[in-house]
Amino acid sequence: MLAWTIYITFFGVLVLMLLPRDNARAARIVALLTAIAGCVVAFVGAIQQTNPGEVTTIVKVPWIPSIGANYYLAADGISLVLVVLTGLAAVSGILFSWNIEKRTKEFFAFYLALIGGVYGVFLSFDVLLLFVFYELTIIPKYFLIARWGSTRKEYGAMKLALYSFVGSHLVLIGLIAAWVVAKGQLGHASLDLIELSKVHFSVGFQHWVFPLVFVGFAILAGMWPFHTWAPTGHVAAPTAGSMLLAGVVMKLGAYGCLRVAMVMFPEGVRMWQGEIACLAVAGIVYGAGVALVQRDFKFVIGYSSVSHMGFVLLGLATLNTIGLDGAVLQMFSHGIIAGLLFAVVGRMVYDRTHTRDFNDLETMQLGKKLPFAAVTFVLAGIASMGLPGFSGFVAEFQVLMGAWAVFPKLTILSGVGILIGVAYTLRAVQKGFYSDAPAAHGGHHDHPLEPISTAEKFGAVMLLGASLVIGIFPGLLMNWIEPCFNSPLSMFARLLVKGGSQ
């Protein structure tokens, strides 16, 4: 069932290509229907899966037998969480790009192609297939930014594409090495993740291959100091582009780290655990600190993403059940909240005022002109700060609880990052919406702003609702995530045996 998320989405791309060039309305509706269909399939498929702790095969047919590649789609609880996130992000992204007039059809075609690739990554249990889908997402990303973006869009797009390619080449080198060794051990060629997760690579081998694969994926997750593509890319991208970049594309990197690098090389993780945690906390504190001094509204959110993804990496580095639970939940939570923040800044504010500079926004008193945007941003900001009641709290809460076990000093340091997070969010609320600076009269700022559309309201309510529901009933997702790490038979069992002190 879940495989249909991929097929429906790519079918939507096909339909969009066949549409006449100038029918923007039809393109929007086709895109929205496709995304909703994908989202519904994701939800129903996820709920139908009775045993989220185990990997349930969806389809497995030989693809390139000579190298052991299969067309192997499957899902466990972690895939389910991320597939549902992708469904939500896809629908809301389209609602927030309803106003795209320039080459609408191509825009949505690229958009859906990106979504299809993301669904593919989250459902692939064959390393080659996963890698193919992973690469597939780079191309639509590049075009979405380079064509429909703003502020140095070619630069941002190129930087993102280059970083992604460098990352995936590191991954590729590592995986080829692993394939060769695994072939020697198993006696036959295999690219099956489950099989590979049972291979015992020698400690010396893991010591150098693990960092290659991990860093390759972590570049896309925005790990400090390889994060610099993220802010520029987010800022340059059109609203829906930033929503997807922060919402799901960064999760691809974190997912790759967990599903491929850590599962295949458990000894490698244990060797590099401390270093990863240090980089993660550096990202948390540094991202928050830089966000605090930005003048461009979108850069604030861009750097905040780096900071929040630091919690995902910190959770991964703990190697205990609760930290990993938190990391996966944080992927979901950040996907929802960052998407919403970018939607407010990019669509609700920038598309109306044509500026993201705090000095200009301060004179506009948007809190009065766009009350819906202001309230949405305040709520999303509260969620992003990690205040209880929203999903971010439950996620960061578990990450930190797990981190106490392994890195007590780093945990205290990451508290500083949370505090700076509060400060930059407050600053953004203050400067963006509720400034007391005198209103500028005359000039182009005085014209009345277009009211918030119904599509935007729907999107915002959907995302806020998701964050709130998970914040109050985290069990809904925890029931999918926890069994994956708790079951002694799962592919993560090797990871947890010696590492965590639980």
């Binding site: 009065k368 930190l400 508290g415 509060v422």
Partner: protein, 516 residues
């Protein structure tokens, strides 16, 4: 299974949602609805108080259900004497604050009264939740839920410097909250529990410190965690030197909001000390008891001196609030001391804690009444509230002078009024337990008397400032508004048993818990 406390918390929360949905146009309706909601909550709280079994120190009205079992999160509510007292105080102060909020919205139509009233009700819901929750996760949810409405109430309806004041308030509190959160995550990790009652039992047997040290292999971890939790509450009370957010926030906030901030929100901090810090970290408190006592003494003396130096009525009362809560802390810390060689030390500790609880309630009542009077003065003077802006008011507004005088003397601790009993019990208890601290603290009482008398003299006595010759006295409606607080001051002054009998069993239990 009863859901009394859940319903009590939901009433203002849902009321807030309805009021927020009314829209800015229906000013009177939103105010009326907010008022009705807060009166329903008051009725509920009074009912709870009547049904509360004062003879028992145990938790009552308990609700317990699993929430997220894998994380040790439960939906766990209940009140003992302390919780019930604070719920009652919250329920009393909120309708008063709503009643005096009307002047904020006179004339100007752009001030969104519906949002204001909704935020006040949500703040009340947050306070109810904080005072009844007994599981850290659940409690923290409400602890933060109270902060957000308070921030926006200051930020959007405050005085000229409201922006920086609100931000400072929020950031300070968040520093405390994050430290508190990290501490409890560490505790949860080491013990597997978020339950305050369970943790207190572990602390009593010494298992908590051992578990922490064993899990972290870090000798000083228990102390670090204690300081994290301490910071969370110390900022909220506040304890000097963590108090610098307070004068700005209290004086910039609109007066009704200041009533809530000082009347109830500051009690969240003291409540945290009593419910969480004392029972869970008695060992750690004992290790650093002398510095903590010094902090309490500094809070009492320095804030009184600071109040003496102020020229703004709101700031004077703000600093005097710090001073009054300092006595509570003095009592709390003294009650933790080992006290060998003191006769009847349990009795003294009980007296000190009884006094602290009484003082919490009294201060909530008196300080909110004082800010209410200030808001009435501001209404008449067009916003002026400097110490030197008035003079001789007693000739033009005798009723006002008389009633505000009662509140001021209650704050000063005049026998016969409520303030006296609390402070008397505190000093009675603390003197044998920590004589030096009690002795130095008396300076605070002296300075308080000086600055409050100065206030009375400058504002109400002396030659009449001609500018105010036509100041109207309290209207009948306003008299009824302040009447309940003034009446309670007298009642509690001569019959403190009303509260003491209800909290005594709780205090005895707390003292037993601290002795091992």
């Amino acid at each position: 299974m009863n859901h009394w406390l859940t319903i009590l918390t939901l009433v203002p929360f849902l009321g807030g949602i309805i009021v927020a949905g009314l829209g800015a146009e229906r000013k009177t309706l939103s105010r009326g609805l907010a008022l009705a909601t807060s009166f329903i909550a008051l009725g509920g709280a009074v009912c709870m108080w009547m049904h509360f079994n004062a003879a028992s120190g145990e938790l009552q009205f308990v609700e317990k259900a699993d929430w997220v079992p894998s994380l040790g999160i439960q939906y766990f509510l209940g009140v003992d004497g302390l919780g019930a007292l604070m719920v009652l105080l919250t329920a009393i102060v909120t309708p008063l604050a709503i009643l005096v909020s009307g002047t904020l919205f006179e004339g100007d139509k752009n001030k969104s009264p519906h949002v204001y009233y909704a935020l006040v009700l949500w703040l009340q819901a947050g306070l109810f939740g904080t005072f009844t929750a007994l599981n850290f996760f659940h409690w923290f949810l409400f602890w933060e839920l109270g902060l957000i409405p308070a921030f926006f109430l200051v930020k959007l309806w405050g005085g000229p410097k409201r922006g920086p004041a609100a931000t400072q308030f929020f950031i300070y509190t968040m520093v405390g909250s994050v430290a508190l959160l990290l501490s409890f995550l560490a505790i949860r990790f080491a013990t597997g529990s978020f339950d305050f009652i369970e943790l207190a039992a572990m602390a009593k047997s010494g298992a908590l410190t051992k578990a922490l040290e064993a899990h972290f292999a870090w000798k000083s971890i228990a102390m670090i965690i204690f300081f994290g939790a301490f910071l969370g509450f110390a900022v909220k009370v506040p304890v000097i030197p963590f108090h610098t957010w307070l004068p700005a926030a209290y004086s910039e906030a609109p007066s009704p909001v200041t009533m809530l901030l000082t009347g109830v929100m500051s009690k969240m901090g003291v409540y945290g000390f009593l419910r969480i810090l004392l029972p869970i970290f008695p060992d750690q408190i004992r290790q650093v008891l002398t510095p903590l006592l010094w902090l309490a003494v500094a809070t009492i003396v320095l804030s009184a001196c600071a109040a003496f130096a102020q020229r703004d009525l709101k700031r004077i009362i703000a600093y005097s609030s710090i001073n009054h809560l300092g006595y509570c802390l003095l009592a709390l810390f003294a009650a933790t001391s080992v006290a060998t060689g003191v006769n009847n030390s349990d009795l003294q500790k009980a007296a000190a804690l009884d006094g602290a609880l009484l003082q919490m309630f009294n201060h909530g009542l008196t300080a909110s009444a004082l800010f209410l009077f200030v808001s009435l003065i501001e209404k008449r003077s067009g916003g002026l509230r400097g110490l030197d802006d008035f003079g001789g008011l007693r000739k033009v507004v005798p009723v006002f002078t008389g009633l505000m005088g009662v509140a001021l003397f209650s704050s000063l601790g005049l026998p016969g009024l409520n303030g006296f009993v609390g402070e008397f019990l505190i000093f009675k208890g603390v003197f044998p337990l920590a004589p030096w601290a009690a002795a130095i603290s008396t300076i605070g009482i002296l300075v308080t008397a000086i600055f409050l008398l100065t206030l009375i003299q400058r504002v109400f006595c002396g030659p009449l400032n001609e500018r105010w010759a036509k100041m109207p006295d309290l209207t009948t409606a306003e008299r009824f508004l302040v009447l309940p607080s003034i009446a309670l001051m007298f009642v509690l002054g001569v019959w403190p048993q009303f509260i003491l009998s209800a909290v005594d069993a709780t205090v005895v239990k707390l003292v037993q818990q601290l002795n091992f």
